[in-house]
């Protein structure tokens, strides 16, 4: 994954063993209008184009109740990203920022998170607005927006701390 030739001025990579602490299962695929990284918006907008979250059939029943939410959180795997940079230079001008001070797709675990508008659900496909990722990005998870969501179970002791 470390290819010093790809670094911009002052960017810094670290040597890492292969990742092996836990494993992910892709649950579907995201369809967007963007086929090339240079075409993707920097950040999704809630009035952006419609995109589709195409869920694998085994998970269709797991959507039950999600139709009650206007805004949902989407997690996805940025599978084209290198994972070894600690400092990045977003505009290649020699000025760098730490990886964790950026929302760049280049990160040790390239998981994208977006809050999107849920337009409609058509069987196992969710139509949403607000994404910024490449077409065919693997889907990892869907959750109700934490702001709109009230836990379905009663409070627990830790909540009163």
């Amino acid at each position: 994954m470390t290819d010093p030739g790809d670094l911009r001025p002052n960017e810094e990579a670290v040597e890492l063993e292969p990742a092996s602490d836990a494993s992910l299962r892709f649950i579907g695929t995201i369809r967007t209008p963007w086929r090339d990284r240079k075409d993707c918006p920097r950040q999704g907008k809630l009035d952006g184009p419609e995109c589709q979250l195409v869920l694998d059939p085994v998970w269709h029943q797991a959507l039950e109740g999600l139709e009650n939410y206007d805004t949902i959180e989407v997690l996805y795997w940025l599978d084209q990203s290198r994972r070894d940079l600690i400092r990045q230079s977003p505009i290649s001008d020699g000025q760098t920022f730490g990886t964790f001070a950026l929302r760049s797709p280049v990160r040790p675990n390239p998981i994208g998170t977006s809050m999107v508008k849920l337009v409609r659900i058509e069987k196992g496909t969710l139509v949403v607005r607000g994404l910024d990722c490449l077409d065919e990005t693997p889907l990892l998870d869907i959750k109700p927006d934490r702001c709109a969501f009230s836990p379905k179970a009663p409070d627990k002791p830790g909540s009163r701390d």
Copy 2:
């Protein structure tokens, strides 16, 4: 992972192959006051107790610039969660919700996401408020809050869609 004996009334699990689509690298450990799942709050609160994100030394430099943000997004691995439920009954009363309509830790990829208040950074340890996870939960990622963050690079064509 499928143990029918652990299901609550009307909960439903699916048969799955082992997860093998992508691999994660833990980047540190989260320290919280909660040692048992029953003690964790249902949702973190920004005025909750101080917790620590203890980053592995290789990633310390990647924090540079994060001190400018009051609110940060934290991703972590809910390593004690089963991953095969499609319907869950949060209060064991027979009423179920689809997994994706809940923010339960039980999900196909048990990745927790929280927006937390960044109190201070002490070398490679971030002191934050707003978490709800167990002590010693593995840390996956840290990003600036998407609401406070402005991309450091200029707009791209997709942003104008």
